[in-house]
């Protein structure tokens, strides 16, 4: 046999892929308890057609493979379901078929067949049903037609082409007529005349068939004629069975006619024809006689029909055989099916390259149109101007339609996820259902391809990390089955795809912890992250939330690649979620890559395009405006709703002209652009229209210019460069330090210097505050709830007694009695016990970079003051307050107060202390205390940093004061590390932590700390330091 052209093979491959997709879809539907019969049929047809097609295209491996699959599959014909193991087998089979199609050698294990498939031999009923419902398609008959291609046509004569053509046309017409009449009869809308006509048609068909020596056709027609004999004579009624047989026969005739038309052999029908004839004869023989007259007798017919049932089964047997004959022959379907489909299906395949070039031409046509329009505006010629207007309308319409040619429903991609989710849920032993909404949403084919991988990744992530195992779900009070919803819709000229799962969601703390571990952010940054920023961490390169790496996902290349890929096509990814309640990922992508809405701006002599998606807003500043452009260290900034917005002068970035810095006395146009993590404004000379542009890539020579994303041709034929917003920001050296808040940077402060305070109101005109790090919770209690035990006031709180301390009382402010119904309480943990610090009102939290200064007059419970520009804030020390109120300082280690008087070394230099503390507030406070005393203080933010410093400077470090709870490496771990290293294992270690209950103390001592203190009064700390101070250095 001749081989096929590359094109034909490609076409077959596409078709084969589609068939496999259909089969897979069917299998998955079966798995999801879809309607068995429908699924079965579609799967069977897919396998079957695939087998046939591959046979014809000489994909013999594939043919053998699918044949085997089909045979196994047939075994389930009479069943109502297929066991999971088999569905898996078939799914594997489809996968293998894909590989085979791609030319891989696959050894496939059909093992399951041996034990079960054999005893599920097909039974006739289902087949009969299939036939009854007219399910037997031309496709299934086609194999017969193709069976023995080499043999000659059965017609003995050489019939001239034109005669043959006429004959065939007549045959087709007759078959059509017969078919119509049979349908009427089936609907019981027949009379004598109709039956006569039918009989005549069949008769003439028989005649002409024999005349041209098409014996098979003649035989069938003859049998049909005979079977109708009794009906025509008016003695018998046509039974449904007979009608079925007649329809069936007609199909065979049709198939024969197609065969003849192609002048191919009809040997394949050799087996079929006798079966058909036999079936027809059988059916007609069993027709009941027309009852003599009465209605009663007509009614009794029903019973007779029932009595005929065994006979029907016999006929069905025949039909089954017919069917089997059809099936067992290797199918050679494709061509015939296609011929048939060409009439029915109104779509054709067109190479994408052709569409692309059409698009390009379209673009040019639009340009010409624009030129014509511009010209027509200048002329007085009315006729020409009306013609050009029509040209305008038509071109726009063509353009619109042209766009649609590349559009494909997103369902094409989304439906593949059914399989992904099914397989994964199986592998992961989770129960997951996938809901797809908006599968009909259309978008550009190239975009569809581009979102496929990212989406797959997201869906896999959801399955792997999102959805919990059924056990855990039950514990959380969720239904066993997790749901992933993929929703797609159009919104504002973009396609939105949302992937939502009801899994465990994202835990901000876990994310942050992970990010710190991986060194993506520092612990100091971590404290300042908003929820959104924390979620964004997941997109950072090298980030993976999976606790352990599974083979499903979590290779650490995940979400950052997703984001990059989506952004590459001009889309955005957003992530939101609630711990415990699931995750939602929202992807927005443009409708099409080819055409992008963009804002045209003028700058210098050139016009430039900025993609609309990157533009946040446009601002125009004229000399009368309230807010003007200000210069900050030589860079222009603009106050936009209170925030400082960095500005970039495009003229300067592009080096086009000197560009005066004098923005104050002219109108300035600012386009505010969004560069992922921050916004900035670009100053342009002029803002023009928004237009749809066709993005054309730049020459390789210019690719390295990062400010441009491409070029486009505008309506007037001029060229405009398209800006790459990220590129501009890089050129202007904005946002160099990742996600750092620009405003903070301008102020010259690092984020890590921020300390957070809780503002409280007391019976004092001055505002008070306490460090937020102390605070466990904020509560409000009814005054009635307060109980008294002696002088002490307490509240039942979470099954414990919460002793209350009134700050007013402790600080000696006036105390009002029983006036308020509610008390505001700051819950603070000290030494493993909770205390309630009672205040008048909890005002707010605030962050400041201003340092806490020691109070002028020492007062127990007051830590220091903060002088902001506006006011003085008193910072209280809640630990000291609690200690004072409950006199629990007694449990603290007692120090000889004389220790404090001990001189600190000869030169007044007290030696060097390494302070390890992650909280800014404490770090500053403790450092200040130590420095005041005369120690030199080195600072580390966490255990890791401390070890680094220690490694470098251990020789001069005399003592280490460390916090316990720290990111990256906590105090315990650090202590163990320190004790391991002989170089500095002897350095005294002092733990100072707000967590100081028994367990912590014990663990602290076990880890190698020499002393464990609660965060407390400076004197105690200093005394402790003196106590621990290394002997030899004391002497020094």
């Amino acid at each position: 046999m001749s081989s096929f052209s590359q094109e034909e093979i490609e076409e077959f491959k596409v078709e084969a892929q589609e068939l496999m997709d259909t089969a897979e879809k069917g299998l998955l539907a079966l798995d999801q308890d879809g309607d068995f019969k429908t699924c079965f049929d579609s799967i069977f047809r897919s396998f079957h057609n695939l087998k046939g097609g591959s046979g014809m295209m000489e994909f013999l491996d594939l043919q053998a493979h699918t044949h085997e699959l089909e045979t196994i599959f047939m075994g389930f014909k009479e069943k109502t379901s297929i066991p999971k193991s088999y569905i898996n087998l078939f799914l594997r089979g489809v996968d293998a078929a894909r590989s085979i199609l791609e030319g891989e050698k696959v050894i496939f294990d059909f093992l399951v067949k041996e034990d079960e498939a054999e005893n599920t031999s097909p039974q006739p009923i289902q087949v009969a049903e299939q036939i009854e419902e007219g399910h037997l398609k031309i496709a299934e008959l086609a194999p017969v037609i193709q069976e023995e291609q080499e043999s000659q046509s059965s017609s003995g004569y050489e019939i001239p082409d034109e005669v043959m053509g006429e004959f065939l046309a007549e045959v087709e017409e007759t078959i059509d007529n017969i078919s119509k009449k049979l349908q009427l009869i089936e609907k019981k809308e027949y009379d004598k005349e109709l039956v006569d006509n039918l009989y005549r048609d069949v008769h003439s068909l028989k005649g002409s068939a024999y005349l041209f020596s098409f014996h098979k056709m003649g035989d069938i027609a003859h049998a049909m004629e005979s079977s109708l004999e009794t009906v025509r004579n008016g003695t018998h009624l046509p039974s449904d069975r007979l009608l079925d047989c007649l329809f069936k026969s007609l199909r065979v005739l049709e198939a024969l006619a197609i065969k003849m038309k192609k002048k191919e052999c009809d040997e394949g029908f050799t087996k079929v024809v006798p079966v058909v004839v036999k079936a027809l004869t059988f059916a007609s023989g069993k027709l009941e006689k027309i009852p003599e007259e009465t209605i009663a007798q007509v009614l009794s017919l029903q019973e007779e029909v029932a009595a005929l049932l065994p006979a029907e089964t016999l006929i069905q047997d025949e039909i089954v055989k017919l069917e089997e004959a059809v099936m067992s022959i290797p199918a050679q379907v494709t061509s015939v099916v296609k011929e048939k489909e060409a009439e029915g299906v109104s779509s054709i395949r067109v190479p994408v390259a052709l569409l692309d070039s059409l698009m390009t031409l379209m673009g040019e046509m639009v340009l010409v149109r624009n030129q014509v329009l511009q010209y027509s505006n200048k002329t007085e010629d009315l006729e020409f101007s009306s013609m050009s207007k029509r040209l305008n309308v038509v071109t726009s319409e063509i353009q619109e339609e042209m766009m649609k040619t590349r559009m494909q429903p997103i369902g094409n991609v989304l439906e593949k996820f059914n399989r992904v989710v099914r397989d994964l849920s199986h592998d992961l032993k989770k129960s997951i259902s996938l809901v797809i909404q908006g599968a009909e949403t259309e978008l550009d084919k190239s975009l569809l391809e581009a979102v496929k991988d990212p989406l797959t990744h997201i869906v896999r992530n959801s399955c792997d990390h999102g959805i919990e195992t059924p056990d855990i779900r039950k514990q959380c009070g969720k239904v066993d089955t997790g749901t992933i919803i993929i929703k797609s819709y159009h919104e504002g000229g973009q396609v939105v795809i949302e992937v939502t799962d009801d899994g465990k969601g994202l835990h901000k703390d876990q994310l942050i912890k992970k990010a710190i571990e991986k060194g993506i952010i520092t612990s100091a940054q971590a404290t300042q992250l908003s929820d959104k920023e924390a979620f964004d961490l997941i997109f950072a390169p090298g980030f993976s939330t999976a606790a352990q790496i599974t083979n499903v996902s979590g290779r650490g290349v995940g979400m950052d690649v997703v984001r990059t890929n989506i952004e590459k096509i001009g889309g955005t990814v957003e992530l939101s979620g609630k711990a415990g309640a699931g995750t939602a990922i929202k992807i927005k992508i443009p409708l099409t890559l080819a055409i992008v809405p963009a804002l045209i701006v003028k700058c210098g002599q050139g016009t430039f395009a900025i993609p609309q998606v990157k533009i946040e807003e446009l601002v125009r500043v004229d000399p009368e405006s309230e807010n003007k452009i200000e210069m900050l260290h030589g860079s222009p900034v603009y106050r936009l709703r209170g925030d400082i917005l960095p500005l970039v002068d495009l003229n300067k970035v592009l080096g086009q002209q000197e560009g005066s810095d004098n923005y104050g006395d002219r109108v300035v146009n600012i386009a505010i652009l969004n560069a992922e993590t921050f916004s900035f404004g670009v100053i342009v000379d002029e803002i023009q229209d928004t237009v749809d542009i066709v993005v054309k890539p730049l020459n390789r020579l210019l690719k390295s210019l990062q400010v441009y994303a491409g070029a486009t041709i505008l309506g007037d034929g001029s060229i405009s460069l398209i800006f790459d917003v990220m590129g501009i920001s890089k050129m202007a050296q904005l946002g160099q330090e990742k996600s750092k808040n620009k405003v903070e940077e301008d102020k010259g402060h690092k984020m890590s210097d921020l300390q957070e305070l809780l503002l409280i109101k007391l019976n004092s005109p001055t505002k008070h505050a306490l460090a937020l790090n102390y605070v466990q919770r904020l509560e409000e209690f009814e005054t009635d709830e307060i109980e008294y035990s002696g002088d002490e006031r307490a509240i039942r709180y979470r099954g414990n007694i919460l002793p209350l301390v009134s700050v007013n009382e402790q600080l000696g402010y006036s105390i009002e009695k029983g006036e308020r119904e509610k008390v505001s309480v700051v819950v603070i943990e000290r030494a493993g016990k909770l205390y309630g610090v009672e205040v008048n009102e909890i005002l707010d939290t605030f962050s400041t970079i201003v340092e806490v200064k020691e109070p002028i007059k020492k007062h127990t419970g007051i830590f220091g003051n903060i002088n902001t520009d506006e006011e003085l804030i008193v910072v209280i020390d809640p630990f000291e307050l609690i200690g004072k109120a409950f006199d629990i300082d007694g449990i603290l280690p007692k120090f000889d107060s004389k220790l404090l008087d001990r001189p600190l070394g000869i030169d007044g230099r007290g030696g060097t202390i390494l302070l390890v503390e992650d909280t800014v507030y404490f770090r500053k406070a403790i450092k200040a205390v130590l420095e005041k005393r005369g120690y030199e203080v080195l600072v580390a933010q966490d255990g890791k940093e401390a070890l680094e410093i220690l490694n470098k400077e251990y020789s001069r470090i005399d003592l280490i004061v460390s916090d316990i709870e720290m990111p990256r490496m906590n105090g315990f771990q650090m202590a163990k590390e320190i004790r391991k290293n002989p170089a500095y294992s002897k350095v005294p270690l002092l733990a100072v932590s707000s967590k100081a209950d028994k367990d912590y103390r014990r663990e602290g001592m076990n880890s190698g700390f020499d002393m464990y203190l609660e965060k407390l009064k400076p004197e105690v700390l200093l005394a402790a330091i003196s106590e621990l101070w290394p002997e030899e250095r004391k002497a020094a």
Binding site: G655, L698, R700, L701, Y708, I713, I719, M731
Partner: protein, 161 residues
């Protein structure tokens, strides 16, 4: 220009010739898509000096490269008489801006010689070789080489801007 196509000793090459400054250059005729007049060039800020800008060629965007800038020659001409030789390479359209256009000549192999070493490096890296014509030497440019050389050039300079 003289044509020496009558003696087909070796392979015969057809070249489109043009002048840059006083020098005669040629490019393989099959590589040339068209020769146009003086189209409107949209400058590309920040691009290397030899990139004149972008040109709209009936809906296709071509990059215009000034050969005199590329060869570091002094401009001794007025811009109006300039011509463009449009070539295509790997799907990229490039429009070489030259001072004036010569004939299409047929040259044969035995008149070909390697570029002499004295030719300055700025030029030599683009020139494949020289044909000895009557009264003038014809330098053959290789469009692929120009592309390659320039691509690496612009990549290495990009970081600085």
């Amino acid at each position: 220009m003289s044509s020496s196509g009558d003696s087909l000793v070796q392979r015969v090459e057809q070249l489109t010739t043009f002048y840059v400054g006083n020098e005669l250059f040629g490019i393989e005729v099959m590589k040339v898509q068209e020769v146009t007049g003086n189209p409107q060039v949209i400058p590309v800020p920040l691009a290397p000096e030899f990139v004149r800008g972008l040109v709209n060629l009936r809906g296709q965007i071509a990059t215009a490269i000034g050969l005199s800038e590329l060869f570091a020659q002094k401009k001794s001409h007025d811009d109006l008489s300039e011509m463009s030789v449009v070539c295509k390479s790997e799907g990229n359209l490039i429009s070489l801006v030259v001072d004036s256009i010569g004939d299409v000549v047929e040259v044969d192999g035995h008149k070909f010689e390697k570029t002499p070493d004295t030719v300055p490096q700025t030029l030599r890296r683009f020139v494949k070789g020289v044909y000895k014509m009557d009264g003038i030497l014809l330098s053959v440019l290789d469009i692929e080489t120009i592309f390659k050389e320039l691509s690496t050039d612009s990549e290495s300079t990009s970081g600085r801007s």
